[in-house]
């Protein structure tokens, strides 16, 4: 009771002032002891936020009749409003990006405006058209510049990084949990992986620039970008799959051993499938991070800010008689990725086409990046659900 009455008094006073117009957007508080000025347009929202938290807390107390029950309810309301605040921040962020970027992304879009020619038959069918998603960024004949090279670049980066990191990370996790003796060595590895995970990405980028670029491609390239992002992803995959493998009950290992099944077969057929959902969670988190990573890409990956062609990785493999026998020109060339495209567009001086300003194009790119990351998440969550359902009776 004691704490709710002063709160109520403060709130009444505050509400009274605001409603009667005593303090408002136009009012300024300039205290005598300082030269700083506090304009009402900033002061009022801050006061309202604190007032709301205080109000929620004491309303909770009052509702459950004070005492221990009331304190419990007060804490519950306070924590609940914190959760809502967090959700509000997230919603604000997404809404802001969508409202700013949607106009750009939908420029020239039509549901049946495009044409799709059926292969071998040659009949044209009406087809949806998304110029911002399907067009090149630069080039002479592009009317509505798009982000296709950046989307493809991002997908190649993620694919390359994941495809060499996941086997390495899971392999190392299996070794550390199933084969290595718990001791000094595994502790050192654990500390090292945690340290690697918290290393700033620009440091990875610098390493790539100084060590990988001269040895592999001699300039910015997709493959170095994949490697650098893969190195960043590796510790997370290792940590999460290690946790997931440790969480598999020993009863499964005992049961398998008692049937006369070897350790490696047990790991392959019982332990790893059971650890799959946890591992996938780790990969999803990691992919979310590397898909939006910009700093290392600036150093080792990015090419022209307005690329006029999409990296054509699949068809550029060529066989040679000398080592390394297989080369891929596209993998060894620089490209664009969505975060890199966003950065280079908004820092560039003038946008080459008149249809968008730099900022508009940037917002569109940001929205596409958001959608790509959400799409990758959806793939990950879907596969995790699939494996969970296979493992458990649901």
């Amino acid at each position: 009771m004691g704490s709710t009455i002063p709160v109520a008094a403060i709130l009444l006073l505050l509400g009274g002032f605001i409603v009667t117009g005593g303090i408002g957007a136009g009012w300024t508080w300039s205290p005598a002891w300082s030269s700083a000025e506090f304009p009402g347009s900033e002061l009022v929202p801050i006061l309202v936020v604190f007032g709301t938290l205080l109000g929620a807390w004491s309303a909770g107390k009052a509702k459950e009749g004070f005492g221990a029950e009331g304190r419990q309810a007060g804490a519950y309301y306070l924590i609940g409003s914190v959760v809502f605040a967090m959700l509000a921040v997230l919603a604000l962020l997404i809404a802001f990006i969508v409202t700013n970027g949607l106009q750009t992304m939908l420029t020239g879009t039509s549901l049946f405006g495009g044409q799709f020619t059926v292969p071998f038959v040659g009949v044209g069918l009406p087809w949806p058209e998304f110029p911002f998603l399907m067009n090149q960024t630069g080039g002479l004949y592009v009317e509505i510049p798009g982000v296709l090279p950046a989307v493809i670049g991002t997908l190649w980066l993620v694919f390359g990084a994941v495809s060499f990191t996941v086997p390495l990370g899971i392999g190392a996790a299996v070794f550390l949990t199933e084969y290595a003796e718990r001791g000094r060595f595994t502790q050192v590895v654990e500390i090292a992986t945690n340290g690697l995970w918290s290393t700033p990405s620009i440091v990875f980028g610098l390493f790539g620039l100084a060590f990988l670029v001269p040895r592999i491609s001699g300039g910015n390239s997709i493959v170095v970008g994949q490697l650098v992002l893969g190195f960043m992803l590796l510790p997370l995959v290792l940590i999460t799959s290690r946790e997931a493998i440790l969480a598999v009950p020993d009863a499964h290992r005992d049961a398998s051993a008692a049937l006369g099944v070897t350790k490696w077969q047990t790991i392959r057929s019982v332990v790893l499938p059971a650890a799959m959902p946890g591992t996938i969670t780790g990969v999803i988190l990691g992919v979310g991070r590397i898909a939006g990573e910009t700093a290392p890409l600036l150093l080792v990956f990015g090419g022209s800010p307005y690329p006029s062609n999409t990296p054509n990785v699949l068809t550029s493999f060529t066989l040679t008689a000398q080592p390394p026998f297989v080369t891929n020109e596209a993998l060894l060339s620089p490209a664009s990725a969505l975060p890199y495209q966003l950065y280079s567009t908004i820092t560039a001086g003038v946008f080459p086409k008149e249809i968008f300003t730099n900022t508009e194009f940037g917002w569109g790119t940001a929205l596409v990046l958001l959608l790509v990351v959400v799409g990758l998440y959806a793939i990950g969550v879907g596969s995790r659900l699939y494996f969970r359902r296979k493992l458990h009776h649901e």
Partner: protein, 301 residues
């Protein structure tokens, strides 16, 4: 069980008297010397087990006959599970455990260096206290062992070459499930996840999984202690049936259960000693050791 416990608590003052008398009692050789017709399926000779510094089994010698149920009883911490886990070398999986002595299976030493653990555990199957089916389908649980041993090939390559063993797999799954008295209950949902079965069904599935490998000996570590009375009764019936073909060794802390299902009983007492071993009726009706009598009548333990 609860009956013994309550009797145990009422016998508190007496217990102190018997415990003092008990520690002075020496184990006589004829108490553990059990004669039976035929060769021993498993013979343990002077088996010592240490967990680090602690001695868990003290020089245990015990012969297990074929095609019968051998019950190992005793208070908790008496080494009965430890002894059981020596018979298929599952103790090798515990890093701090060291085993000294000899165990022979059909006359062959299993603690020599050249022994193939995979072959040994194929011949000596094990069922655990908690039902532990794999998080796979019922069918995959049964065919897991034979598949891993290469007895069944249902891989893609075999299927393409027309040499897959899908029919054999079906037969094997049905045979194992029938043998474990589970077929009637699950034959319409063999592809469902095994974790959806009840506890008793899961335990019978684990027995079926063990039978699918076609062992000679089945070790059971308190197989019914996590189950309700009805499921326990089913498991007990099953154990008696299995004894027609296999040597079954069952660890149990339930003396009534041991009396019901076993042909011979070994009593372990605190400190990892084998105190008495003989025909079940004789052990429960005329125990030769005073300590065993006290334990069976519920005066301590």
């Amino acid at each position: 069980m609860s009956e013994t416990e309550s009797r145990n608590s009422t016998a508190q003052p007496e217990q102190r008297v018997t415990t003092t008398g008990e520690s002075s009692e020496e184990v006589r050789e004829e108490w553990t010397d059990y004669e039976f017709a035929g060769d021993a399926k498993i013979a343990a000779e002077d088996l010592d087990v240490y967990y680090g510094e602690e001695k868990a089994l003290q020089s245990v010698s015990l012969d297990v006959p074929d095609e019968s149920v051998t019950a190992l009883i005793g208070p908790s911490g008496c080494g009965k599970s430890t002894f059981l886990r020596c018979l298929n070398r599952m103790n090798d999986r515990i890093k701090s455990a060291s085993v000294d002595g000899s165990v022979t299976l059909d006359g062959e030493e299993i603690y020599s260096d050249g022994v193939n653990l995979v072959e040994l555990r194929k011949r000596v199957g094990m069922v655990f206290q908690e039902p532990n089916p794999f998080p796979k389908s019922i069918k995959d649980n049964i065919s897991y062992g034979p598949r891993k041993h290469g007895d069944l090939d249902t891989g893609l390559l075999a299927r393409l070459l027309g040499r897959d063993d899908t029919d054999e797999e079906h037969e094997l799954v049905e045979r194992a499930l029938r043998r474990a008295a589970l077929w009637e209950e699950v034959n319409d949902r063999l592809d469902d996840n095994a974790l959806g079965l009840s506890g008793g069904q899961q335990q019978r599935l684990c027995i079926a999984r063990c039978l699918a490998v076609d062992p000679d000996v089945i070790l059971m570590d308190e197989p019914a202690s996590a189950l309700d009375p009805i499921a326990t009764a089913k498991i007990e019936d099953l154990i008696e049936e299995l004894a027609e073909e296999y040597a079954v060794v069952v660890v149990t802390h339930n003396m009534q259960q041991a009396a019901r299902i076993s042909d011979q009983t070994a009593v372990f007492l605190t400190g990892g000693e084998l105190v008495e071993y003989g025909e079940t009726d004789q052990i429960f009706e005329h125990p030769r050791s005073q300590r065993v009598e006290d334990y069976i009548t519920g005066k301590f333990g």
